[in-house]
């Protein structure tokens, strides 16, 4: 499908499409913005622009990804996600059927998560000015009065919990985009985590901080926490779950799964005394069935993240300025 010069007829077409999939009381108000009821507490707002190639990949597409990503950013603040907005930048000539699939996927994700998309906008740009479709979502959530989760609260002795396997999303994207015919398909882990987080918070355990290790992967997230808190972290390589096909693909591509993106995993820094409680709550939830204790927070003036490896060594898991640049001289 092509849309001619982006005229009025086409915008109408898109609006109908959104109305059909997203139908809810706020959109039905038909105003420029959504009028929302009082939330009754402190609000958290997060926004995320989603750009992904390919748009469709095993385990998901840009639509559900844009819903999960923002819900997770709100949820790791300890908040209950309430509402989402969505804005679309569409490239002229983008197939309407694809858009329909994406919007349907977003609607499904939003419905499953129980977080409605209450307002939105669409712009169409000339062919070549965008890569199919870009979706920006913003989420608002409410956080309980007595809860503060923050990256600067990790203390030596705390433990590091991970909700499941790493690297699935990034490798699913790469394998699809580059058409690297690996034996077993790799499926993205894209998912909304607020249910798992609610279960964790319900334990009343001393959770210092939650993070979703998206871009830059687990390594980058742990390094951010270490630097924010002024501590070091010692990870145990053997304890970090990595799916076999992801490990194999990473090895083949020369990538370190620690730096590969995830879209449905979280890291929790938890007081050691509460580790078992939180871990049990995580494992009881479908999204945390493979949750693991992967390391501990240590005192370290360098704020190094280190990892004990299978060979009895300890290596630094660096934060990287950019890509994984070669360095072996």
């Amino acid at each position: 499908l092509t849309h001619g010069s982006g005229g009025r007829a086409m915008v109408q077409l898109i609006e109908e499409l959104f109305a059909r999939h997203f139908a809810n009381e706020w959109l039905a108000q038909g105003n420029d913005g959504a009028l929302l009821p009082p939330a009754g507490g402190r609000l958290v707002m997060a926004t995320d622009a989603h750009v992904v190639s390919p748009l469709f990949f095993p385990g998901g597409d840009i639509g559900c990804l844009s819903v999960h990503g923002t819900i997770n950013d709100v949820a790791v603040m300890g908040a209950t996600p309430l509402w989402l907005s969505a804005s679309f930048i569409l490239e002229e000539g983008f197939p309407l059927a694809d858009l329909d699939r994406i919007v349907a996927s977003m609607a499904r994700a939003s419905k499953e998560a129980g977080v409605p998309i209450v307002t939105g906008d669409t712009k169409v740009v000339e062919a070549g000015k965008a890569d199919g479709v870009f979706i920006t979502t913003t989420g608002v959530g409410m956080v309980p009065e007595d809860l503060t989760l923050s990256g600067d609260r990790a203390r030596p002795g705390d433990v590091v919990l991970l909700s499941g396997s790493i690297g699935d999303h990034g490798m699913a994207i790469m394998a699809t985009r580059e058409n690297l015919g690996f034996a077993a398909p790799i499926v993205s882990d894209t998912a909304a985590l607020h249910g798992l987080i609610a279960a964790m918070l319900a334990t009343d355990a001393e959770i210092r901080c939650l993070r979703d290790p998206t871009r830059g992967g687990l390594a980058t997230t742990i390094n951010e926490i270490a630097r924010q808190s002024g501590v070091g972290v010692m990870l145990d390589e053997a304890a970090i779950p990595v799916n076999g096909e992801v490990a194999a693909a990473c090895e083949f591509l020369g990538l370190d799964p620690l730096y590969v993106a995830n879209e449905g995993k979280l890291v929790a820094i938890v007081a050691a005394a509460d580790a078992d409680t939180v871990l049990a709550a995580m494992r009881a939830h479908p999204q945390g069935s493979r949750a693991a204790l992967i390391g501990e927070v240590v005192a370290d003036d360098h704020h190094f993240v280190q990892m004990t490896t299978g060979l009895g060594g300890r290596r630094i898991v660096d934060w990287l300025t950019g890509d994984q640049l070669p360095r072996i001289c």
């Binding site: 690297l180 591509l253 994984q324 070669p326």
Partner: protein
């Protein structure tokens, strides 16, 4: 009667120079005094034999001294009545700070092996002419209380030696004897001390095939019987070091023959006071006699005992003979002596750390109560040159003299084989080998080394230099160090630094050409460089050309898996369909190459070596860094020289050297030995032609050969010969390794140059 003032410059402090002068003066009836000062040693001499005295100062010196100049000027007669060793001039700092560690001397061996001597079998025997320095010193001045000997109070006998200018142990700071000095202990893995004679028991363990951690000068070694294949295999499996070569310790040069060939020069290097590991050509049958020590390689690293403790093991094996005749006679004992550096971390230094970190590796620990202050690995060299592979014990902290003075610089080196360098006036102090900065203890050692050198050398850096790569710990450390002190940072391109290191040690001030061949280093264009032809002019450089780029499929993984580089070469040659044929199940690699997935292009020469090794089937996956290239060199050497491949390379208009035709030829070569020889011959010729072209174009007739690839002797010799035949002056790294161990010196030299 005449009187003169004499000034002696060089390494003349802390090496027994003043007592040497005292003895000479006493012998010749000269009166006056000798003292240390900021420039070295100053002497006032009067008497009838003054000319003869000056002559002998020029021709003689104690073993650890290095006299650069002796200048005498006429002075007024002062009427001295004796010859005194005066106290050090307090003003100004000591010109020569602290010496390197030195192997035990012959006189001390005679003491240790004289049954009547009070130092019979004493493991801490030393004198002014030998023994530990750098590794036991905490602070300046180099005086016993500032060393790890501080806690040992000299007995009256030792004190008398220490105080007597006529004695070999006059002011020997670590002077000790069984009555007052450090003691040995043999400790079980659990920490319990074993009763009985520690040396006797240790040798028994070694002969039983056990692995013993032995405390050395700059850290612990892991030792086992090198002729016991099972013991070596156990050491490999416990150290998780499957193939990387071990060095062997043999009693003396007379014991080498069954294992390796050593030339006169190699013997001299082995016997030098620095006592490095020297890489020797393996003898026929060496692999059978020393199974598993250096599997598959043409080289064997050999060193001779340098501490009294090591000598005692050989003495024990020889049956505790009296006297020193046995010292030069062939001895059958051969020991593996490998640095105890678990997981690639710095060599283990502290006793409790040894017990903890080596628990699963060593069966017992031969240790003692003298602390190691500064870690220092064994140095590794090879001839011709000699060329450093690793510069550490015996050499640090000796200064490298530069052509001119400049601001004090701290240069922090690269990522692998890291060293740091500090400069003071016209001297550059390159640290001992620190190691790979992929682990926290190595990073901590970098910091500690910088702090210690700053203290020992009394340097206040005013500029900080580092590599362009933003993710090296060294680069980040440099940024922090500079920010805390408000100092300027000088980022230095990796290959510029490789060439500058050579310019620095050779005192070259004019522009020169540099052929920098190594693994990878970040370029100024953010590209991944590694086969560069540069024009270097102090802080400026120009990239005149580079090797044709080849993809690095899998980034750093491609550096460990030569088959990937072979596949990249096939792809480059338009023969990508052969990847699947050669490497079944790896068809995706072709896809990676075609789509450029984690396959950045690089001009690295090391990766061309890997590609050749992969195509010739020499090695698909390397067990340690540089293994494929080492094996390729070994094959070429065994095969013997061949003529270069005609049209094996091309130079394009932009100055890129393309080796694709050579690799195309190697794809179909079944004889790996011939292929290896052909690769070396053609590469050397191509590089020489390429360089000559630039020499003509620029009018610069001096070329430095830098980067780790020049550890390859066939390549270095081939390029040198071809360039020298064309009248080009060729400079190689001699005082630091050509590999990344020399980067810090190059960085420092560039930062000293200042902006213009």
């Amino acid at each position: 009667m005449t009187a003169v003032r004499i000034r002696v410059c060089g390494i003349v402090q802390g090496v027994g120079y003043r007592p040497f002068v005292w003895r000479l003066a006493t012998e010749l009836g000269i009166l006056g005094w000798v003292r240390n000062d900021a420039q070295g040693v100053e002497i006032a001499a009067e008497g009838d034999g003054v000319e003869r005295f000056v002559e002998r100062l020029k021709s003689e010196a104690p073993p650890l001294a290095r006299v650069d100049s002796v200048t005498a000027s006429v002075a007024a007669i002062e009427g001295h009545v004796d010859f005194l060793i005066a106290h050090t001039e307090a003003s100004g700092r000591a010109a020569t700070a602290i010496g390197p560690d030195s192997a035990v001397c012959g006189d001390c061996l005679a003491d240790m092996f004289g049954p009547e001597n009070r130092r019979w079998r004493y493991a801490f025997t030393n004198c002014t002419h030998c023994g530990p320095r750098y590794t036991i010193t905490r602070n300046l001045p180099y005086d016993r209380p500032q060393t790890s000997m501080a806690g040992f109070v000299m007995c009256p006998d030792c004190r008398a030696e220490y105080d007597s200018p006529a004695d070999r142990r006059f002011h020997a700071q670590p002077n000790a004897c069984p009555a007052c000095g450090p003691r040995l202990a043999l400790v079980e893995a659990g920490g319990a001390t074993l009763a009985g004679d520690a040396i006797t028991a240790t040798l028994r363990l070694l002969r039983d095939g056990k692995i013993v951690a032995i405390k050395g000068l700059g850290g612990y070694h892991l030792a086992c019987d090198a002729t016991n294949a099972a013991a070596v295999a156990a050491l490999r499996s416990r150290k998780q070091r499957e193939e990387k070569p071990f060095a062997a310790m043999l009693a003396n040069v007379a014991s080498i023959a069954p294992y390796a060939a050593a030339s006169e020069a190699e013997r001299a290097l082995l016997e030098s006071a620095e006592r490095p590991i020297v890489l020797l050509h393996k003898a026929a049958g060496a692999d059978a006699r020393l199974a598993g020590i250096a599997p598959g390689l043409a080289w064997l690293g050999v060193m001779l005992p340098y501490t009294p403790l090591q000598w005692l093991l050989f003495h024990e094996a020889a049956g505790q003979p009296a006297g020193i005749d046995w010292v030069a006679a062939p001895q059958p004992l051969a020991l593996v002596m490998t640095s105890a550096n678990p997981g690639g971390e710095p060599i283990v230094r502290d006793d409790d750390e040894a017990l903890r970190r080596l628990a699963g590796i060593a069966d017992a620990f031969l240790t003692h109560d003298r602390a190691i202050v500064t870690r220092c690995d064994d140095s590794v060299l090879r001839l011709p040159g000699p060329q450093f592979i690793r510069r550490a014990r015996g050499f640090t902290p000796r200064a490298i003299r530069l052509a001119s003075a400049g601001p004090s610089v701290l240069a922090v080196g690269g990522y692998l084989k890291n060293t740091v360098c500090l400069t003071r006036d016209d001297e550059a102090f390159v640290s001992q080998h620190i190691g790979d900065l992929d682990n926290a203890p190595s990073c901590a050692m970098l910091e500690e080394t910088v702090e210690r050198l700053i203290d020992l050398l009394e340097i206040e850096p005013t500029v900080v230099a580092h590599d362009l790569h933003p993710d090296f710990f060294s680069s980040r450390y440099a940024a922090t160090f500079a920010a805390e002190r408000g100092l300027p940072l000088v980022p230095v391109q990796h290959h510029h630094a490789h060439i500058a290191a050579i310019a620095a040690e050779h005192g070259i001030g004019q522009p020169l050409l540099g052929l920098a061949l190594d693994g990878v280093g970040l370029g100024t264009d953010k590209g991944i460089w590694g086969g560069e032809l540069l024009r270097v002019d102090g802080r400026q450089f120009e990239r005149l050309g580079h090797l044709r780029e080849i993809r690095l499929p899998g980034g750093d993984r491609a550096a460990r898996e030569p088959w990937r580089m072979a596949a990249a070469a096939l792809h480059l040659l338009g023969r990508g369909d052969e990847i699947e044929q050669r490497y079944s199940g790896k068809a995706s690699l072709r896809q990676m190459l075609e789509r450029g997935v984690n396959s950045p292009p690089t001009s690295s020469c090391g990766r061309w070596f890997d590609a050749a090794a992969g195509l010739l089937g020499v090695r698909d996956v390397a067990a340690f860094e540089g293994q494929a290239a080492m094996l390729l060199e070994g094959l070429a050497e065994v095969h013997g020289a061949v003529a270069p491949l005609a049209d094996g390379y091309a130079i394009d208009a932009a100055g890129a050297l393309d080796l694709a035709p050579l690799l195309a030829r190697l794809c179909d070569e079944k004889d790996a030995g011939f292929g290896a020889a052909l690769f070396h011959a053609t590469l050397a010729q191509a590089l020489a032609k390429w360089t000559l072209q630039s020499a003509m174009a620029t009018g610069i007739r001096r070329v430095a050969l830098g980067g780790g690839c020049f550890l390859n002797r066939i390549l270095a010799a081939g390029v040198r010969r071809a360039l020298e035949d064309a009248g080009i002056e060729v400079l190689e790294a001699r005082q630091v390794p050509p590999n990344d161990g020399g980067l810090s010196l190059g960085q420092a030299w560039i930062a000293m140059k200042g902006k213009d």
